[in-house]
Symmetry: C5
Subunit: 92 residues, 5 copies
């Protein structure tokens, strides 16, 4: 899983029928200190996350486990809201 910060939201009227009702948030990966690491992706929110919140998100086929629909084409999902991050990144 990755640490991320929610930075936006996507609206899509025309979409796969198994995505209807999902909340699509734009999330960027972050480091332990909260600094942003790379480009944003679209994540399905499953825990009630909001913009500006730090989250845990899962990628690939395992993301679909967080959504209770075995036909949903989902490869990224927010599965937790981060309370705190302890530790320090090593290296450059």
């Amino acid at each position: 899983m990755l640490m991320g910060i929610v930075v936006g939201r996507v609206t899509a009227t025309r979409k796969d029928e198994n995505l209807v009702g999902t909340k699509l948030l734009i999330t960027q990966p972050i480091n332990i200190d909260g600094s942003v690491l790379s480009n944003p992706i679209i994540t399905v929110d499953t825990v009630g996350a909001g913009i500006g919140e730090k989250v845990i998100y899962v990628m690939g086929s395992m993301a679909s486990r967080a959504v209770h629909n075995k036909d949903a084409p989902i490869d990224a999902a927010i599965v937790g809201i981060i309370d705190s991050l302890e530790g320090e990144t090593l290296g450059g």
Copy 2:
């Protein structure tokens, strides 16, 4: 999932029999502001997307869920047309 823009189309007469009838579009990942992030890939269109449209696409095995054929070797699929993107990318 990723935000993308459709930039082209692939034609292939000789192909896996489970790809016959699929529409193969070339898509590039984009940022919230619409700027292109990296190289193009081939995506199977499942929502009637056209060149120049901003789309949501899924990668990996979950992409195959958007196509109703359990034998199709598909690892990328367009699953939505983006109406609007709200938010702002953080960091450099």
Copy 3:
């Protein structure tokens, strides 16, 4: 899926028994204009591709769908020969 060009061939006598009989081609990802994008990988040919041909290839577990053997450890397969690429890559 990715656009690629076949650039070589691998021979391996000692290998997983479920790879016996497969044709292993070395493929590099390309852009719409045919320029090479990054490093080569090994792909299993399922459509009769040859060196110098532009192809469509699938990666990850979906690649194994193109090979009719549920025990084959295959994570990349050529699934089409490209007739034509239309469009233009955006961005730098």
Copy 4:
């Protein structure tokens, strides 16, 4: 699998019900000489790892095999504690 070093810990009260009880450690990939290679990710500990320990971790859907819960949305898991690394990295 990747060689890693555990550098931190994540606390998340609000999370997917199938993640309750998991220990979420922050791990960075390392080289044979122990030098850090890139950014940290969140891994589920399944072997009793601690901060500062060198570990083996698995990514993608196979990571979920290390956790005995078929509904857990997990894409990274620590599956071993490294006793020793022998060998030398080649190239630049």
Copy 5:
């Protein structure tokens, strides 16, 4: 699959019970000319590979097919020993 060279070995006494008995080799991806392309990963050897040998390795869930244990959390496996590589890499 990727072309690789075996550069080392990992020892781990404390590990997932389904990894007991596996041989864990450190492998780096290589180009057609044998030059090293990037950082090392841990691969499960299934064909009797040794240090210095050029190998074919599979990544992701398909790697687990090379190991006859449906509970093993394995995302990278050596599935062949390369006899010869023909061809030439294109581009920069």
